[in-house]
């Protein structure tokens, strides 16, 4: 190993590798970072500045009204209405102001704007303004509208999460996703493990054919199953006079769709267990049921864990099966379905979308980072073996 290591360690080539990998990592991370930061931003700031400026603060233009003529004071030859456009909003400052909507930043803060007819206006950066006229302000001069560009410090808030969890139904969908995922992850394991054991260690006619069938079924597209199963579910539903879109219905669907890969992965592992252990147990008079539950099942834990993670990620992230077998009404919507619905109804409200997206992906991400080892092992067993 040392020779090749050294070969790649030579000077600029190694630096180049470091640099390229760094660029790749940044490119891969930025999209997720974008929604993570955006979900925490104040929703008014989010629409006026890119998320990458979140830590630099932002400025936005707001319309304010100046004071009424009855507040005017005479200072020598001029009459002045004064006050503060920020009105106690702390930590903000004025960058610029203007009197016309087309040019809201015509004057810098602190400048004196000559508005004609002997009228002038100054707004300083702390928000204090002086509105001056060389004659008394008449009743028509009251409450003049001006535009100010307000610099806002970065604001981070959990409000968006509060909104989506309670107001947008994401909280309910989270529960629905858990309701779908937990049984649909655990039920297939046991069924597949028994089948995998039989296909590895029991002799019976048609075994090779069944293994070939399982391997073939791994790649059968889900689309092939949708139409007949939808008809079957509707048929059973009307026969029993019950709704056809139910949680048990989707549990069975996910269990069945995960079954070929489950049997394949578990069989590869269980068939690889040492022959001596199983045969000596047989000689001692243990039945197949005992061998399976006492010896094979405990030994297969890593493979079971690998498959469980796969199935969990697949079920949690699934949209198609949920839409077809559980439906899209609000009470049954899973997280992916809810997010899809929000994309339609809240297309431009990125504070809602980003926060919802984060709620959707946070559980799989935790599972991923916590159990990455098992996931990698499962992937390798699934595709490299014999490849």
């Amino acid at each position: 190993m040392t020779l090749t290591r050294d070969f790649f360690k030579i000077g600029p080539a190694r630096l180049f590798v470091h640099f390229v990998v760094l660029v790749i990592v940044i490119v891969w991370l930025i999209p997720t970072l974008g929604i993570f930061i955006s979900a925490l931003r104040d929703k008014d700031q989010l629409v006026v500045s890119g998320w990458w400026t979140a830590f630099a603060g932002s400025s936005r233009t707001v319309a304010v009204r100046l004071g009424q003529p009855d507040q005017q004071k005479q200072e020598g030859a001029v009459y002045v209405i004064s006050g503060n456009v920020l009105e106690g909003q702390q930590g903000r400052s004025i960058r610029a102001f203007g009197t016309r909507v087309q040019q809201p930043s015509a004057y810098k803060a602190g400048e004196t704007a000559d508005l004609g007819d002997g009228v002038s206006l100054t707004i300083s950066d702390d928000g204090n303004y002086r509105y001056m006229k060389n004659a008394a302000f008449g009743p028509d001069d009251g409450g003049r509208r001006v535009y100010v560009s307000v610099a806002t410090p970065p604001e981070f808030t959990l409000q968006n999460y509060k909104t989506v969890l309670t107001g947008e139904g994401i909280g309910q969908s989270f529960i629905n996703s858990l309701t779908v995922t937990i049984p649909a992850t655990i039920i297939p394991i046991l069924i597949a493990a028994f089948a995998a054991y039989a296909l590895s260690w029991m002799e019976f006619p048609g075994r090779a054919l069944l293994i070939a069938l399982v391997v073939g079924l791994i790649v059968v597209p889900l689309q092939m199953s949708l139409i007949p199963l939808l008809r079957l579910y509707n048929g059973i539903g009307s026969l029993l006079d019950a709704p056809s879109k139910t949680y048990p219905g989707i549990w069975f669907a996910h269990t069945a769709f995960g079954m070929p890969l489950a049997i394949y992965l578990l069989r590869a592992y269980i068939a690889g267990l040492p022959k001596e252990i199983i045969e000596s147990a047989r000689v001692d008079g243990a039945s197949d049921f005992e061998i399976f539950t006492r010896i094979v099942l405990p030994l297969s834990f890593p493979a079971l864990a690998s498959f469980a993670i796969f199935q969990f990620l697949w079920v949690w992230n699934d949209l198609l099966v949920a839409m077809v077998f559980l439906g899209t009404d609000r009470d049954h919507l899973v997280l992916t379905g809810a997010l899809n619905a929000l994309l339609g109804s809240r297309g431009g409200n990125w504070e809602i979308l980003t926060a919802s997206a984060f709620v959707t992906i946070v559980v799989p991400l935790l599972v991923f980072f916590g159990l990455q080892r098992y996931l990698v092992r499962g992937l390798l067993a699934g595709s490299v073996k014999g490849g």
């Binding site: 290591r5 190694r14 046991l190 092939m224 490849g387």
Partner: protein, 337 residues
């Protein structure tokens, strides 16, 4: 809400007990109904044989039932339904297939699917291989791998939201809050509604899948690269091969089998791509793909199971060569067992 979770957990407990109960009691009943302890030696031997014949089917039974009902039967049923009308009641011969050949949307979907097939598996495998080779050479390679691998855990819908935010376009004089348009503006370009640019919008959708799947290719190929005997590479180094030559002449040929596995796995995934197109364009602006067209016909105007079935069959047809290859590979493995 809490009661829903409790009932879900309750279901798990019930299901586990029901499964264990089925396996336990079916085995017990088998042993009880075919006794081997008492009676004469001949019937005991016969019963023992019968037990050995029946027991595997008890073990496989539930799995086989699910496979047949949810996968085998539907394949046959879809094939039959493709010859029937929209409600699946009247036989129409090849009418649905004829419709498909002349339908503009169907042709568009076929074209787009071919485009996806040409780009995504190749891009994922290439990036995966390059990243695997590079991360294996640096001390923080595992962290880099984790980050590239991470999108695998994100749902297609979640990834679509993430990328839609990057492609976001704001009209008028509004500040561009989408990263892509902001970068375009920085270099003096004009912001665009990227997802509606004809033809090229397909590529903006593909990028999402490439972002998700490159990690998968990387993990598998990285393991295969580690399996290359060190002597081979050392010999090449001694002979004066440079990094480029080692990559193309030594590493790539050695992991050729794995590249094929990765390529086919991603190919199957691409043929089934649905969520990304649904959430970002829903097939508008000429981005329709087969899986989405099939889904649309399943429900469009009350649903047309015949046309939907034809589209599903086309996807199945495209997967079949890979299926045959996989089965043959598995059989070879078993033969050498």
């Amino acid at each position: 809400m809490l009661s829903q979770i409790v009932s879900a957990l309750g279901v798990v407990v019930v299901a586990v007990f029901a499964c264990s109960g089925y396996f336990y009691f079916s085995n017990k009943i088998l042993d009880w109904s075919l006794p081997v302890k008492d009676g004469d030696i001949h019937s005991a031997a016969r019963n023992l044989n019968r037990r050995a014949m029946i027991r595997p089917w008890l073990f496989i039974g539930p799995a086989l039932f699910l496979l047949v009902v949810y996968l085998v039967y539907p394949v046959v049923a879809t094939l039959i339904l493709s010859f029937y009308d929209r409600s699946g009641e009247k036989f129409v011969g090849f009418a649905n297939y004829q419709w498909a050949l002349t339908d503009r949307e169907f042709r568009q979907s076929i074209f787009n699917n071919i485009l996806w097939l040409a780009v995504v598996p190749a891009a994922c495998t290439f990036f995966g291989l390059v990243i695997a080779v590079m991360t294996d050479r640096i001390w923080w390679g595992n962290i880099a791998k984790s980050i590239v691998f991470m999108p695998m855990a994100i749902s297609f819908v979640g990834a679509s939201v993430i990328w839609k935010f990057i492609y976001e376009y704001r009209g008028g004089n509004d500040v561009q809050i989408g990263l892509l348009n902001s970068i375009v503006q920085l270099f003096g370009g004009t912001p665009q509604v990227w997802i509606s640019v004809p033809f090229w919008n397909n590529f903006f959708l593909m990028i999402i899948l490439i972002w998700i799947q490159t990690g998968f290719a990387m993990v598998i190929l990285s393991a295969a690269l580690r399996g290359i005997p060190e002597e081979t590479i050392e010999a090449a180094v001694i002979d004066g091969a440079n990094g480029w030559q080692i990559f193309w002449r030594i590493m790539v040929p050695q992991v050729w089998g794995t590249i094929a596995v990765v390529w086919t796995t991603i190919t199957i995934l691409v043929l089934k791509v649905f969520d990304i197109v649904l959430t970002i364009t829903n097939g508008q602006w000429n981005t329709m793909v087969l899986a989405n067209l099939m889904f649309n016909w399943l429900f469009r105007g009350g649903g047309d199971s015949g046309r939907s079935a034809v589209i599903a069959l086309i996807i199945m047809l495209a997967v079949t060569p890979i299926m045959v290859w996989n089965v043959r590979r598995a059989n070879r493995e078993l033969g050498g067992h």
